[in-house]
Symmetry: C2
Subunit: 346 residues, 2 copies
């Protein structure tokens, strides 16, 4: 039984949509979206009364038939908080959904944590509460993108607004472990840059290109461009600094939304528009690699189906032992400081 803690608050649409997802999940027999291969128990992180009330409204009795725990939290970091405000809130308050959820993970009361709230708050609470895996500088947010051959792991999608070349090596290392857990036997690594030839791009990309080649040899395929990210890419893991990764992911999201609205204008809301929406679920969230815990960050605008996908992803992350495997895999590299620089450098 995997115990998944889930943040009730946060998200763009408020707690109602999370409660919808939880109600659907807890009434498993009625839901085709729930993966029942590994059983999951839920711990809802949020105000106790609100949690009970929202679930009761949806016909779910968490003290009876549809058992779930509650970890009480008063509040969440508002979606509009700046980085500085977020850091201060997460440092000062132990009654936020992000800090309560991560504390449950740290203290062994939960096996995984899911939030569709403020990404920076979940990342900060994870790093403050859990620390970083030995060898890791900044953690990276890894999203699965669809490709013809299976999922492509894209990391970092915005856990940090910058990265060093040493961070990119760790992203590749952790991303390969995650890709293996998704069924890719020998994941190949690519570097997101501009131009398809080696040696294009800025200083970060040039330095990273050399380091990636020396670290991964034939498993490093070289540069990957933005238009390769979905559909047909030679790499299984693509690494990038979190600023560029976040812009790339959101740009794809915007273009997909544009496509959906174009289809809706031409053919109505059913048919093509719905088919396109169905295939763009890869935008629903990612996993935080490099912290000693299974943490899934969902998109703030997630639908109930996408929230359930995050819960299943978190459970699989735990059940697959990905964190321990990342820990083992990082052992080959030296330690990094919080700026992503080698600790043993002058």
């Amino acid at each position: 039984m995997t115990r998944v803690a889930i943040d009730l608050l946060g998200g763009d649409a408020g707690p109602g949509v999370v409660a919808d997802a939880l109600a659907q999940f807890l009434r498993q027999p009625a839901s085709p979206d729930v993966d029942r291969s590994s059983p999951v128990s839920l711990c809802v992180v949020g105000p106790r009364n609100l949690t009970e009330e929202l679930l009761a409204e949806r016909g779910v009795d968490i003290h009876g038939e549809h058992a779930a725990d509650i970890a009480h939290a008063n509040d969440c970091v508002p979606m509009t908080s700046s980085s500085q405000e977020t850091l201060a809130l997460v440092r000062e308050r132990d009654d936020l959904t992000s800090t309560v959820g991560i504390d449950a993970l740290r203290d062994g009361r939960a096996d995984a944590f899911v939030s569709i709230g403020h990404t920076g708050a979940t990342v900060a609470a994870s790093v403050f509460g859990l620390g970083r895996l030995p060898g890791m500088g900044r953690p990276g947010l890894a999203v699965e993108l669809p490709s013809g051959r299976g999922p492509l792991v894209f990391v970092d999608c915005g856990a940090a607004p910058f990265a060093t070349e040493h961070d990119l090596i760790r992203f590749a290392c952790a991303g390969r472990v995650y890709a293996r857990s998704l069924g890719i036997a020998a994941p190949r690594v690519g570097l997101l840059t501009i131009g398809s030839e080696r040696g294009k791009g800025d200083r970060l990309r040039k330095n990273a290109d050399a380091l990636l080649e020396s670290a991964f040899a034939a498993d490093y395929i070289g540069p990957v461009e933005g238009h390769d990210l979905v559909g047909d890419c030679a790499a299984d893991v693509v690494v990038v600094d979190g600023f560029t990764g976040n812009v790339a992911l959101k740009s794809m999201e915007g273009a997909l939304r544009w496509s959906v609205s174009t289809m809706a204008r031409a053919y109505g809301n059913d048919g093509p528009a719905r088919e396109l929406l169905r295939t763009s679920h890869f935008l629903s969230g990612g996993v935080l690699l490099g912290v000693p815990g299974a943490v899934v960050v969902g998109h703030g605008a997630s639908s109930p189906i996408e929230i359930i996908a995050c819960i299943n992803r978190a459970a699989a992350l735990h059940a697959g032992g990905v964190v321990d495997e990342v820990r083992r895999s990082l052992d080959a590299f030296g330690q990094l400081d919080a700026r992503g620089e080698p600790l043993d450098a002058a």
Copy 2:
């Protein structure tokens, strides 16, 4: 009469597709895609014999009914050239389509230059051959993205792999002039970053945010995210460093291609897939802002219709006096060196 020089070589599919576009353009009465509001004469830049041969094959006699000039060039910079190879080629050889085309522009034998060849070659030939407008550091490649309210000008899409905050101010200034030429009376400026609050992002974004506010006051709307770029953005001009801009543009392109192939799988190549392709023509190319000449850089995979759109865009750029207007507008700012730093700084 606007004289547009166009690079026959380069492009992903070879000169045939450019010849198709030229034949269609020169047989204007048969082509609904040709904008006849301002008359255009063409100067084809490429090997003389090949030009005559390809056009004759398409039933076009450039010495007779469908008059066009030829500016002979032997070769082009190969699409696979690295930045270093490209710089060396453009510096050393005056018989490349990029250098011959830009020379024609500089010497007044053409009013505008269009190429769907190597972007770096066109940018380098422009900067070496024409110089930069006073006040400009790096030129920026500006692409029109579709929004609900009219075109959105996105700059830099990859003329240079980095930018300083001072470059971003110039991109905004030149981008606003270009946006006005597209019919937007009072263009508002946005800064592409991560997160919708002021003060998010890396050091470049933080510095640029303050400078943009002081330069454009109420015309600066603040941060814009990747998912705002197409469809519904509060800004008319969005500025970004060329590395991130290139990744964002190509990521949107990839997502659109993914959408088109999803539609084609579900409904065949006609209908939804074709409708989606029709609305994604904004990926066909951009204009180079900040050099003293009208230069249009087309996508290497442009179709004949998209190449004709580039020719019309180049003619409009010249006819609208955009370059002189950018020159006047840049006068308010100090000069920058080639690294984008103020010349009068210590």
